[in-house]
């Protein structure tokens, strides 16, 4: 089975690059090739200027990795785990200008056994391990998996702070808010392909329409044919419980929608106007929603 094929992209030094896509899009397969955990059948992969298939040992010395599953030895304490992982690298954690244990608030957990950590605590330990060798390049596979909104914002702050010293981050996410909030550039993946690549503003501006209007239909049917004739509407996507309209003139579109409802020609529950997002980029490239 081919998980990913024909991917071409590069990540610049000092940027946060995100691979965004639904589960099964091939994000993990892609990042695990970059981490040297999987070898590609074809093509060339260079990480930190080194060919990953021939120089994986040197690459592993200089990268930090957080896998999707945290993979912590069950019976070791947090401090022992950190100490063990630090010993694997020539660049030890004592040379860090930035102590991951302190910054990630793990001090109180030092003597806790890994199997007794909560999901969020495990994620923090996993991130600390990824940073233990002061890597030039950090790979994070779904880093906010299982975190509550507060934990997620904390994580974003840590990643930004760490990267601000000119270091590079490659992460995967299925959450477009995370990609928009955190990433300098985004590669949108679907079915083993990169379907869109660029900075977040670039990708959104490539859209034909600036604004998206969500019309919640409720029980009454809303004919898509009628909606496409409304002023300003460039594109209509019929969903199960409503219509998504892309409009160049949101004021005109919503105005006529409300007028039609007032005259009884149309029936719907609500209208929401928002700026087009990465969700819409994904929708326009694949015809499907990112989050369902």
């Amino acid at each position: 089975m081919v998980a990913v094929a024909g991917l071409t992209f590069s990540v610049a030094e000092g940027e946060i690059f995100g691979l965004l896509g639904p589960n099964g899009a091939g994000k993990t397969s892609t990042i695990e090739v970059l981490e040297g955990l999987e070898s590609p059948d074809e093509g060339r992969v260079h990480v930190l200027g080194l060919d990953i298939t021939t120089s994986s040992a040197q690459v592993k010395e200089r990268i930090g990795v957080q896998l999707q599953s945290t993979g912590l030895p069950r019976y070791l304490t947090v401090a022992e785990t950190v100490d063990l992982f630090a010993s694997f690298y020539r660049r030890g954690h004592e040379r860090l200008d930035w102590d991951p244990i302190e910054r990630l608030g793990l001090h109180a957990l030092r003597s806790r056994v890994n199997s007794r950590l909560s999901g969020g605590e495990r994620q923090r330990v996993a991130l600390a391990l990824a940073l233990i060798n002061n890597p030039q390049l950090l790979f994070l596979d779904e880093p906010s998996n299982g975190l509550d909104p507060h934990g997620r914002r904390e994580l974003w702050a840590v990643i930004r702070e760490w990267q601000s010293g000119g270091r590079t981050v490659v992460l995967t996410t299925h959450d477009m808010h995370e990609a928009e909030a955190l990433c300098d550039r985004v590669g949108i993946m679907d079915a083993g392909q990169i379907v869109a690549l660029g900075t977040v503003p670039e990708l959104i501006n490539e859209q034909e329409s600036e604004e998206a209007i969500w019309v919640q239909a409720g029980r009454a049917a809303l004919p898509a044919e009628l909606a496409s004739t409304l002023p300003g509407v460039a594109r209509v996507l019929a969903e199960r419980d409503g219509l998504l309209l892309y409009s160049d003139d949101a004021a005109a579109t919503t105005g006529s929608l409300l007028a039609l409802r007032a005259s009884g020609e149309l029936s719907f529950d609500s209208v929401q106007v928002r700026r087009a997002s990465l969700e819409d980029v994904f929708l326009s490239r694949t015809g499907r929603r990112l989050e369902s």
Partner: protein
């Protein structure tokens, strides 16, 4: 500390905190020592008797009398070999016929309860017999190295504990694979050789600790000597025991790793570990002497690594019957290192 040392120490800590492993390697063997200590502390009801020069018309009535006694098992042999058997504990007494018209002599080990009982039993039989040629029987106590069924069993328990230690090494390994710990290690510069080497070395150290623990427990509670073969020094004997512990641990860890390589999850690994260790426990002469095994099982018994490890321990640490020469024990155990290791290397999956 080197990376190897760090992996080794981490592996020891993980072992010590895993209650399942601990119960199999320390608690269960200790319970077995205690159980068999009480069960075999006295003597069993069946005795083996070595018969020397027992041919001719005048000895026939006594021998047929002895043969018809279900509590006795008669073994024929030369004087030297039967006396050696008595010293090593494989026979409880030796009956020597010195010539027509002369009283047979009964040799037994005065320090062994079993041997003394056997001698008493034999004396009463020969007296009841009323044979004209056997009027009396001379009792000749022999100074033998202490031996008993308990010695035999302690060697078996030590071998069994090492078997469990090695075979059940499969479980944490598969667990680490399932929980992606191995994959996380793979994303670091840690080499596979260092990882496996450190983990195996920790098992070997645990094996040595286990041996000290079991032999000490047997000595403290039941007076089974840490013992050496008659004539060799205590230290020399212990070095041989330690070497055997290492070789045995290596063989069973290799088997454990082969199990880990061939099973896709922890349930499978558990099933394989049980499937391999249970028959060995019953068949390898650990708790029941190999002599009582039916003939059709002999070829299977001759393949089991536990047969040879228990046999080797019996020959060095404590005394007992010999299944194969020590060199054969060592060679078979070495083969049990190489073959499972090859399987593990060939089929092991890191994710």
């Amino acid at each position: 500390m080197t990376v190897f040392g760090k992996v080794l120490v981490a592996s020891l800590k993980e072992f010590a905190r895993d209650r399942t492993s601990l119960s199999f390697t320390i608690v269960l063997p200790l319970l077995l020592v205690v159980f068999f200590g009480f069960a075999y502390g006295g003597s069993g009801s069946t005795f083996s008797v070595g018969i020397v020069h027992g041919v001719g018309r005048d000895t026939a009535p006594l021998l047929s009398q002895l043969r018809s006694d279900h509590n006795l098992r008669l073994v024929r042999g030369g004087l030297a070999s039967e006396m050696a058997n008595l010293r090593s504990g494989s026979v409880d007494a030796v009956l020597v016929f010195t010539g027509a018209g002369r009283a047979p002599q009964l040799y037994y080990d005065a320090r062994s309860g079993g041997s003394a009982l056997a001698a008493q039993g034999l004396r009463s039989i020969t007296t009841r017999n009323g044979s004209t040629t056997v009027r009396s029987i001379l009792l000749r106590p022999v100074q033998a190295v202490s031996h008993s069924r308990l010695n035999f069993v302690v060697a078996g328990i030590l071998a069994t504990a090492i078997m469990w230690l090695g075979i059940f090494a499969a479980i944490p390994l598969v667990q680490q694979r399932e929980e992606q710990v191995l994959r996380r290690f793979a994303a670091t510069p840690l080499s596979r050789g260092t990882l496996v080497g450190g983990q195996v070395a920790s098992r070997l150290l645990i094996g040595l600790g286990q041996a000290v623990f079991i032999l000490l427990a047997a000595r403290l509670f039941f007076g089974v000597p840490l013992g050496t073969r008659a004539g060799s020094s205590l230290v020399g004997g212990l070095v041989v025991v330690a070497a055997l512990v290492l070789l045995g641990s290596l063989a069973f860890v290799a088997i454990g790793y082969a199990i880990a390589a061939l099973s896709s999850n922890q349930h499978g690994a558990h099933a394989w570990a049980q499937l391999l260790s249970m028959p060995m426990l019953l068949l390898a002469g650990v708790f029941f002497p190999l002599g009582v095994m039916p003939g059709f099982l002999r070829p299977l018994i001759a393949l089991l690594p536990l047969t040879y490890l228990a046999d080797a321990f019996r020959q060095t640490a404590v005394q007992g019957q010999i299944y194969a020469p020590l060199s054969v024990d060592l060679a078979v155990l070495a083969a049990w290192v190489v073959v499972p290791l090859a399987i593990a290397v060939r089929y092991f999956k890191w994710r």
